[in-house]
C-alpha cells in the first residue's frame, strides 16, 4: 500500500495543476447500480448534463449494490478503476479512503460551500479526516409510511400518528379483513421496519445510541424494551404470506387496496408511479412517531478513484460540477424518488412527499442519520440477523431479543 500512497500524492499534485486545463476528449466511465426503468431515467439526467458540458459518459451499470461495489473495488485493486463509482452514503468506503484508493474532493467542497448547503448528517458521513472524500447526490428518507387513502376512508379510520396508535388502528383494520401492514418479509425490510419503530417510538437519541455508540445501557433501558415489545405486536398486523416476499410485491398490496400501510424508503414511490398513482391522491406518505416524526436519511454518493491520468482527474472535476448543479439535482431527484442533497434549491415542482421531506429536513432536529452512516456493515448485518429472528418467531420474548442485540454489540467489530 505504500506504493499507492506515493502514486496518489503524485496524482493529486497533478490534479490541482490540471483542473483548469481543457481536454478535448473527456471520457468518463461511471460505475453504479441504478438499473430499473425509473433509476435509468434518473441516471440519464446526469449523463445528459455531462454530455452537454462536453464530456462522454460511458455507462457501466451493475444491478445489486454488493455486485457493483465488489466489481468496482476489484478493479481499483487491479489498477483499472472506473472514473467515478457509486456508494451508499456512509461507512461503505471507509477503507478505500484509508488505503488511498479514492481521492478527496475538498477543494471543490470548499469552493461550493457544501458544508453549509447540505444537512449535517450527510456532511459527516462523507468527510474523513476533515476532507470530503465523496460527492453526495441525493437524500433518501428511509422510514416513510405509505398508506392507501381509500382503505382508510372506507374503514372510517384516521391515519395513525404514533406507533401505539398504529397498533390499535391496525387491529381494527385487520378485523375488517384488510391487511394492516404490507411487508416484504426479507431480513433487510424487516430490519428497516424495526428502525422506523426505534426512531419513531424510542427517539433519535436511542437510534444513535443503538447503532452508533452501541451503548449497552440504552438497550437495557425500559423504554427500549417497550419499543421492542411494540415492534413485536406488529407481527400480528402482517399477513401470513409475508416471509420471503419482495418489497415490490408488498407495495403492490397497497396499490391494489389489499393492504393499508407499508413502511419503506421513498424509492417505493417508483412502484406507485409505475402503477399510475399520485402522491396525496390514491396514496399518502407520513412519518410515524412522537412529536411529528423524525426522518432517517441516507442516500447515494460518488467516489473518485485515484488515477495517474491527468485527463481523468480533470474529467472527474467536470463530473463533480455536473452532479451538484441545481438543475441536475432537481431533475435527477424527481426521477429517483429522493430529494436534492442541496437544501438551497427550489423543490416546489416536486411531488408532495418530496416537498414534505424537504420541509421536515429544514429543522436539523428532524435529521437522523441512517444506519449505514452510524454503523459498520458488519454490525448492521449482525443486527439484521437478530431482528429477523425476533420478527419471525412469535414465541421469542423481548428479553431474548435484547440479549441477542447485546451479543451482537459485543461481538461485531
Amino acid at each position: 500500500m505504500r506504493l499507492k500512497k506515493r502514486i496518489s500524492a503524485y496524482t493529486l499534485a497533478f490534479a490541482f495543476a490540471s483542473t483548469t486545463a481543457a481536454f478535448a476528449q473527456q471520457k468518463a466511465e461511471v460505475l453504479h447500480w441504478w438499473t430499473s426503468a425509473g433509476e435509468s431515467a434518473s441516471v440519464k439526467v446526469f449523463a445528459d448534463q455531462f454530455t452537454k458540458a462536453g464530456g462522454t459518459w460511458v455507462d457501466n451499470a451493475i444491478a445489486g449494490g454488493a455486485n457493483a461495489r465488489t466489481a468496482g473495488i476489484n478493479r481499483m485493486v487491479g489498477g483499472n478503476p472506473p472514473t467515478m463509482m457509486q456508494f451508499n452514503t456512509g461507512k461503505q468506503f471507509d477503507e478505500l479512503v484509508s488505503n488511498e484508493l479514492v481521492r478527496d474532493v475538498e477543494q471543490q467542497a470548499k469552493a461550493g460551500k457544501w458544508r453549509e448547503l447540505m444537512p449535517k448528517p450527510i456532511v459527516d458521513a462523507t468527510v474523513r479526516n476533515g476532507k470530503f472524500y465523496a460527492v453526495p447526490v441525493n437524500i433518501h428518507g428511509q422510514n416513510w409510511m405509505f398508506y392507501n387513502t381509500k382503505v382508510f376512508a372506507d374503514a372510517g379510520l384516521e391515519v395513525p400518528k404514533t406507533f401505539p396508535e398504529l397498533v390499535a388502528t391496525g387491529e381494527k383494520l385487520k378485523a375488517k379483513g384488510v391487511i394492516p401492514i404490507a411487508l416484504g418479509g426479507q431480513p433487510n425490510w424487516e430490519h428497516n421496519l424495526f428502525r422506523a419503530v426505534v426512531v419513531g417510538h424510542g427517539g433519535a437519541d436511542m437510534f444513535r445510541k443503538l447503532y452508533g455508540a452501541r451503548d449497552q445501557a440504552t438497550v437495557k433501558s425500559s423504554k427500549f424494551k417497550e419499543t421492542v415489545e411494540l415492534f413485536g405486536k406488529m407481527r400480528a398486523l402482517v399477513d401470513p404470506g409475508s416471509p420471503g416476499r419482495n418489497w415490490n410485491d408488498a407495495t403492490a398490496l397497497v396499490i391494489t387496496n389489499k393492504a393499508a400501510m407499508h413502511f419503506n424508503g421513498d424509492w417505493a414511490k417508483g412502484e406507485f408511479i409505475a402503477a399510475g398513482q399520485t402522491a396525496g391522491k390514491e396514496y399518502g406518505c407520513a412519518l410515524v412517531g412522537e412529536g411529528g416524526g423524525k426522518l432517517v436519511i441516507g442516500g447515494d454518493v460518488f467516489v473518485f478513484p485515484v488515477t495517474k491520468d491527468k485527463a481523468q482527474t480533470a474529467t472527474q472535476d467536470k463530473l463533480i460540477e455536473v452532479l451538484l448543479d441545481p438543475t441536475s439535482q432537481i431533475e435527477f431527484n424527481k426521477k429517483k424518488g429522493s430529494i436534492p442533497v442541496r437544501m438551497d434549491v427550489d423543490v416546489s415542482s416536486m411531488d408532495t412527499c418530496a416537498q414534505k421531506s424537504h420541509a421536515v429536513l429544514k429543522d436539523p432536529a428532524n435529521q437522523v442519520e441512517a444506519m449505514e452512516m452510524l454503523s459498520t456493515p458488519n454490525f448492521s448485518g449482525a443486527m439484521q440477523d437478530a431482528v429477523t429472528q425476533y420478527w419471525n418467531n412469535a414465541n421469542m420474548t423481548a428479553d431474548a431479543f435484547i440479549e441477542k442485540i447485546l451479543g451482537a454489540m459485543r461481538d461485531a467489530s
Binding site: A66, N67, R69, T70, I73, V77, Q92, D94, E95, L96, N99, G185, Q186, P187, D239, P240, G241, S242, P243, G244, R245, N246, T376, P377, N378, S380, G381, D385, T388, Q389, W391, N392, N393, G407, D411, S413
Partner: protein
C-alpha cells in the same frame, strides 16, 4: 468395491521394457502439466490464501495481521452459522438422494424408446438452463399461501387446505429441497442416460434370452455398471450442495428468520455485504475442512491409493 473391479487386471507394462515405458508415459505427463500448474497456483494457492485470511482481522480489503482463532470463536458462537450448518446437512441428504432417485427413474423411463424423447429430455433439463433469480420468484409465488397452491386449492372448495411450508420456519428448508430437485434432477438424468446408452446391447439380448425380468436387469446388472456415472452425478450434486446460494437468495433470502440460511450465503454475505472478509473466510475454511474430512478418505481410497484405474 471400486468402479473398476469389473475390469480386467492391469496390462500395459508387462510387454514393454522399463525404459520405454517411461518414454511412452512422457506425453501423458506433459498433457497433465498445465492442470498441475493450475491446481498448484489457483486451487492450492487460493485455499491457503483463504485459510490465512481467516486468522486476520480483514474487513473490506484483505490485510495480513494475525488474530489467532478469534474469528473461529465468533463463528461458533454465531447461531446463524450453526443453523446454516444444520440446514446444509438436511438439504444435502434430501437433495442428493432425491436427485439420484428421480434422475435415475427419468433416465430409465426415457430410455424405453418413447415417443417425443427429445421433448421430454429438454423438459426435464430446462430448469437447469434458467437463471434462478427469476425462476425463484415463480416458485416463491407458487408456494406463497396467499397466492399459490394453498389459495388455488381453497378456491376450488377446500377451505381447510393448508400448504404454508414456505412461510413456516420448520418446513421452509423443504421448499428449497423441492425447488432444488426441480432444478437439479434433469442433469442427473442426462448423465445417467448417457451411461445407459453406453451399456452393451448384447447384455440386453442375453438377458432377454435368459428371460430375466427387466427390473432385475436394471437392479443387478445395469445399476452396478452405471456406478461411475452415479459417482460423477453425486459429486456434481454435492458441489452444488456446498455452493448452494442462488436458490436460497431467490426464494427465501434465508428466512423466515434464519430458518433457511446456508453456509455459502453466510460466506457471501460476510465477504461482500458486510465487509467482514475475516469471518467470511473463516466460514469458508470450516466448509473446506468439512468437505475434506468427508471426502478425503473416499478420494484416498478410490483414487490415490490405486494408482491409475486398474492397479
Amino acid at each position: 468395491m471400486s468402479t473398476v473391479s469389473l475390469r480386467a487386471p492391469s496390462i500395459s507394462p508387462a510387454t514393454a521394457p522399463p525404459r520405454r515405458r517411461l518414454l511412452t508415459r512422457l506425453p501423458a505427463a506433459f498433457a497433465l502439466l498445465p492442470t498441475a500448474l493450475i491446481v498448484l497456483i489457483v486451487y492450492i494457492g487460493c485455499m491457503l490464501w483463504t485459510v490465512r485470511l481467516s486468522f486476520t482481522s480483514s474487513t473490506l480489503l484483505p490485510k495480513l495481521d494475525w488474530v489467532g482463532l478469534a474469528q473461529y470463536s465468533r463463528l461458533f458462537a454465531n447461531d446463524r452459522f450453526l443453523t446454516s450448518a444444520e440446514n446444509i446437512v438436511i438439504f444435502g441428504f434430501l437433495f442428493i438422494s432425491g436427485c439420484l432417485i428421480l434422475g435415475f427413474l427419468l433416465a430409465v423411463f426415457i430410455d424405453q424408446n418413447v415417443r417425443g424423447e427429445g421433448l421430454f429430455r429438454t423438459l426435464f433439463l430446462y430448469p437447469y438452463a434458467m437463471s434462478f433469480v427469476v425462476t425463484g420468484v415463480a416458485w416463491q409465488w407458487f408456494l406463497n399461501p396467499g397466492l399459490g397452491l394453498q389459495k388455488l386449492v381453497r378456491d376450488m372448495g377446500f377451505p381447510n387446505f393448508t400448504f404454508d411450508w414456505l412461510v413456516n420456519q420448520d418446513m421452509a428448508i423443504y421448499t428449497i429441497v423441492i425447488a432444488g430437485l426441480w432444478h437439479g434432477s434433469g442433469l442427473t438424468m442426462a448423465i445417467l442416460l448417457a451411461g445407459l446408452r453406453g451399456v452393451d446391447n448384447d447384455l440386453w439380448k442375453a438377458a432377454r434370452v435368459d428371460g430375466v425380468p427387466t427390473w432385475r436387469v436394471y437392479a443387478s446388472i445395469i445399476l452396478p455398471l452405471l456406478r461411475p456415472m452415479i459417482v460423477t452425478a453425486t459429486v456434481l450434486l454435492a458441489t452444488g450442495v456446498v455452493k448452494l446460494y442462488d436458490l436460497v437468495v431467490a426464494m427465501t433470502l434465508g428466512g423466515p428468520g434464519i430458518a433457511t440460511e446456508v453456509p455459502a450465503k453466510f460466506v457471501m454475505d460476510h465477504l461482500f455485504e458486510r465487509n467482514n472478509i475475516a469471518l467470511g473466510t473463516a466460514a469458508a475454511t470450516i466448509m473446506l475442512v468439512a468437505v475434506i474430512s468427508i471426502l478425503a478418505p473416499w478420494v484416498y481410497m478410490k483414487y490415490v491409493r490405486r494408482e491409475g484405474r486398474h492397479a
